[in-house]
Symmetry: C2
Subunit: 195 residues, 2 copies
């Protein structure tokens, strides 16, 4: 018998895979059982309801997302490059075979109106991303209003890439971000340096 921690991880990661690929409501708990190899009885001992499982999946995905962004950013040099690295991270993600848009946006559209706990978990992820970007902007010496603008580009790229199936949306977002960053930094820091 596997221990509780292992069982929990297997269930969450199986559910994450299935929910992301097919949507939450389209996946029955029975599918989570066969994908995870953990019995229904055990699943319900770990997560009292499907809603609890969904929230756990969202939190797990938030952690993975934060780590992914942090990794990508840490590989870049200057503060400006670190900001743009966020969009390179998106570009790599959009090219993955199983890319199906932002899981948080998808779940919010599906269930956000009906479950406060789920809506809250989605909000937390978006808020933590906003903070990450705001920290990067601050480190680059950019003005406060730059962060939400870059966040909007990233959000838009995720939905547009999912719907259009065009992974180059990340390129468009990156180019726009580059322009916004240049304008903001040049206006604030060195007055009228580059064109």
């Amino acid at each position: 018998m596997i221990d509780e921690q292992t069982a929990r991880e297997r269930v969450v990661s199986a559910a994450d895979r299935l929910f992301y690929a097919r949507g939450v409501q389209a996946v029955g708990m029975d599918a989570v059982r066969s994908e995870s190899g953990v019995s229904l009885k055990r699943i319900y001992a770990l997560f009292p309801s499907k809603e609890d499982l969904i929230v756990a999946v969202l939190r797990h995905r938030t952690d993975r997302w934060n780590a992914g962004v942090t990794d990508a950013v840490d590989g870049a040099g200057t503060p400006r490059e670190r900001l743009l690295a966020v969009f390179d991270f998106l570009a790599g993600w959009f090219r993955e075979d199983d890319f199906r848009g932002c899981a948080f946006i998808n779940v919010f559209g599906e269930l956000g109106g009906g479950s406060d706990r789920i809506a809250e978990a989605v909000r937390e992820q978006k808020e933590s991303f906003r903070r990450q970007v705001a920290d990067l902007v601050r480190a680059a010496g950019g003005p406060g209003h730059l962060a939400p603008q870059l966040v909007l580009l990233a959000e838009g790229a995720q939905t547009a890439a999912a719907i259009s199936r065009d992974p180059d949306m990340a390129g468009h977002a990156r180019a726009a971000a580059d322009t916004l960053i240049r304008c903001a930094l040049d206006d604030a820091g060195e007055p009228a340096a580059a064109a």
Copy 2:
């Protein structure tokens, strides 16, 4: 007895209201019946399946969206103002009481992976919006790459506004769009006019 056209309109507009407010899968055909006042038998004569009804609702919403954008744009003067009017249109929408994000993005997250026809209807709306913006950019003398950048801002604003419940996302998007437009027009048209 109401005529076919009227019945169709009542069903589509009732379904639209319910789907948008609660999500598609959360709304049963019985709810559509009571909201529209059209019998189930008649509904199924007009729309052979729920999927057909969903597609009809999406097309109807596409028409309304296009008309709304066109109206907003037509009220503006210069080509540059006409581009920004798109974001003013968003700002008004985000402030509506029943705003719950972009219906197309919501439906795509919920069912886009499982139904090609629904995914296609969503794609058509996004593509028609992209064309609208591209036309405005061209009229303003902007470069081709500006349109997808503005579209990403609009898309991002819609999801961010829905999730964060902060209607000022439209303001952020508008400010970013203003910067992008200024940079693009100044780079292309008059070389280095404004800072």
